[in-house]
């Protein structure tokens, strides 16, 4: 029976892009909170 697998492009589209985006958004949020701390 033939074995199928996702292509590299499909991996990028399906997992890598959203995961990278989520990491960047979280890092931005953490940096944002750290910047706001001294204002208190």
């Amino acid at each position: 029976m033939e074995e199928y697998s996702l292509t590299v492009g499909a991996h990028l589209l399906l997992w890598a892009f959203p995961l990278t985006l989520v990491i960047l958004v979280v890092v931005e949020d953490i940096l944002d909170r750290r910047d706001r701390e001294p204002e208190r």
């Binding site: 499909a10 959203p18 989520v22």
Partner: protein, 541 residues
């Protein structure tokens, strides 16, 4: 689709009634806190991060995310997911570029609607910008509202077990009546709160259902093998497309995101945020919601393709999986999520259309600036009247509705997104350039769309450039009759006409049929704004 048992249908209908009751309760609570015009149109600029963030995203997605996006991956496999990066890039621009600048700008201007932001940014002594923007918004939004009511009617009639034409009419009326009541009583606050409730329901459904369905299938590996067995191209990012077809498809899908900064029902949420801190907090909330919902919808389509091989319409995959896999109460909640995605958009668009009439036309253009109390009453009645017109259109002119909807997203996006970005950039554009951008964005959208479909009816569509010239002559003639146009406005109309005709020629000559119309319309509208502003610079900035 497997026939649904009567007892299941009864349980689903009961959940649906409870869901509608929850919407009414939220609307009633919001109404008690709505006391004046700014409350009604912008929730008194008091939204917190969660309601502003989820409301901005939920109102932008409509039934498309639970039906259309699911259908994309069901039909095209993994390559159907290209809409997700497109939409998420649009979210990035909106929450990190537009929202932090738009909130303080609108607060300092005292602006209440998107039209208000544009007119106060560049000045509008003869109401040319306000009437142009309002006309574009009303045409697009009414088409949208009626189309969403049609979709809600179909979803309600199938989930409540209402059959035939009578069932459809009853479905439209039930969904629309609840939304009109909630929106007219509670205004912007009710819309934002119900959006929050419905947006969370959609997110939970689109995270939970695909994970459960994949687990039931036997895991992700089984899903990949199943997709490959249906069609090996389903496992690649190009989906078997090659050359111009591939690039046209990818650029077009990514281009969807260009429209987000121009959606009035989305960016007014940022204007209504309480302060800059809430805007910063809503960024991560909106992005997480987007990732969860777009990828969840994509996974539902993929798993539906393997689990439901006999399903004829991929857009029904979420509902079919829900009815097949989970307990009727949960299935009812999942169907409520499908309807939520539709109703959260209807209420937001209904409010934008009503604000365009009651605030932009009656209060601002006609100068009937009444006190806060009268502004509230006017807003409420306008929502009711606009909503009733929406119901009538949805019940009688379904074909006309879908013709308008074809242009609604790209028309609004091209007319307003470049303009909002330029408004926030603070330089290079004047009011004549703003007029040129709105007309070019709308004109190029229509010309490109019809040009792409020209093969369907070449004799009719080949006359588009005549229609453009006549439309331009009518605009110039009306402007002259009303003595509204300055020299710069005439330059703007002529520039928009030339760019529209050029775009028609381009799509015909170069065969750029695979390119989504929003992409050229967006960039040509931005070019028109800058070029016309440069030509007419001495008149004002």
């Amino acid at each position: 689709m497997t026939p649904v048992e009567g007892s299941t249908l009864t349980t689903v209908a009961a959940v649906m009634v409870a869901y509608l009751a929850a919407l009414l309760l939220i609307g009633w609570r919001a109404a008690r806190r709505t006391h004046g015009g700014e409350d009604f149109h912008l929730a008194g600029r008091s939204l917190g991060a969660w309601s502003a963030g989820i409301s901005s995203t939920a109102s932008s997605e409509s039934g498309w995310v639970t039906l259309g996006a699911v259908g994309m991956t069901f039909t095209y496999g993994v390559s159907g997911l290209w809409y997700a990066p497109g939409c998420l890039l649009g979210y990035l621009v909106n929450v990190y570029l537009v929202a932090p600048r738009l909130r303080p700008l609108s607060a300092s201007q005292g602006s209440v609607t998107l039209t208000d932001v544009i007119t106060r940014r560049w000045g509008d002594p003869r109401n040319v910008l306000r009437l142009t923007a309002t006309t574009i918004i009303l045409i697009c939004m009414m088409g949208y509202v009626a189309a969403q009511m049609t979709a809600a009617g179909k979803a309600f009639s199938s989930s409540l077990g209402l059959e035939g034409r009578g069932g459809y009419i009853l479905g439209v009326v039930i969904g629309a009546a609840v939304i009109i009541l909630v929106t007219s009583l509670g205004g912007f606050r009710a819309v934002a709160w119900t959006d929050l409730f419905q947006g969370l329901l959609v997110a939970i459904a689109l995270i939970g259902l695909p994970l459960y369905a994949i687990a039931r299938l036997g895991g992700f590996g089984v899903l990949v093998q199943g997709l490959g067995a249906v069609n090996p191209d389903f496992l690649s990012a190009g989906g078997g497309r090659l050359g111009p077809a591939l690039w046209g498809f990818i650029i077009g899908q990514l281009g969807i995101g260009l429209g987000y900064p121009g959606m009035p029902h989305v960016i007014t949420r940022y204007m209504a945020a309480r302060d800059d801190r809430e805007v910063q907090r809503l960024q991560i909330i909106a992005m997480f919601w987007g990732v969860a919902v777009f990828y969840g919808a994509g996974l539902v389509g993929l798993v539906g393709r393997v689990s439901l091989p006999n399903l004829a319409d991929g857009e029904q995959a979420l509902m079919a999986l829900a009815l097949q896999l989970v307990h009727p109460v949960l299935a009812g909640l999942l169907l409520a999520a499908v309807i939520s995605a539709i109703l959260s958009t209807v209420s937001s668009q209904l409010l934008v259309a009503a604000s365009a009439v009651s605030y932009d036309v009656v209060e601002e253009t006609l100068g009937k600036a009444s006190d806060d109390r009268r502004s509230l009453i006017l807003g409420r009645w306008t929502v009711a009247v606009v909503g009733l017109i929406g119901i009538l259109v949805a019940l009688t002119e379904v074909r006309l509705v879908f013709w308008f909807v074809l242009f609604a997203w790209s028309g609004l996006g091209a007319a307003f997104a470049p303009l909002i970005l330029l408004a926030l950039a603070q330089r290079g554009v004047n009011r004549h350039g703003a007029l040129a951008a709105m007309l070019t964005g709308t004109g190029v959208t229509v010309a490109w769309k019809l040009g792409r479909d020209a093969t369907a009816n070449p004799e009719l569509f080949a006359r588009v450039w005549w229609i453009t010239l006549i439309a331009a002559a009518v605009i110039l003639g009306l402007g002259r009759l009303a003595r509204a146009f300055e020299r710069g406005d005439r330059v703007g109309v002529v520039a928009a006409t030339i760019l529209t005709v050029i775009s028609w020629w381009l799509v015909q000559q170069w065969g750029l049929h695979n390119l989504y119309e929003l992409v050229p319309a967006f960039f040509l509208a931005g070019f028109a704004a800058l070029a016309v502003s440069a030509i007419t610079k001495p008149s004002n900035v």
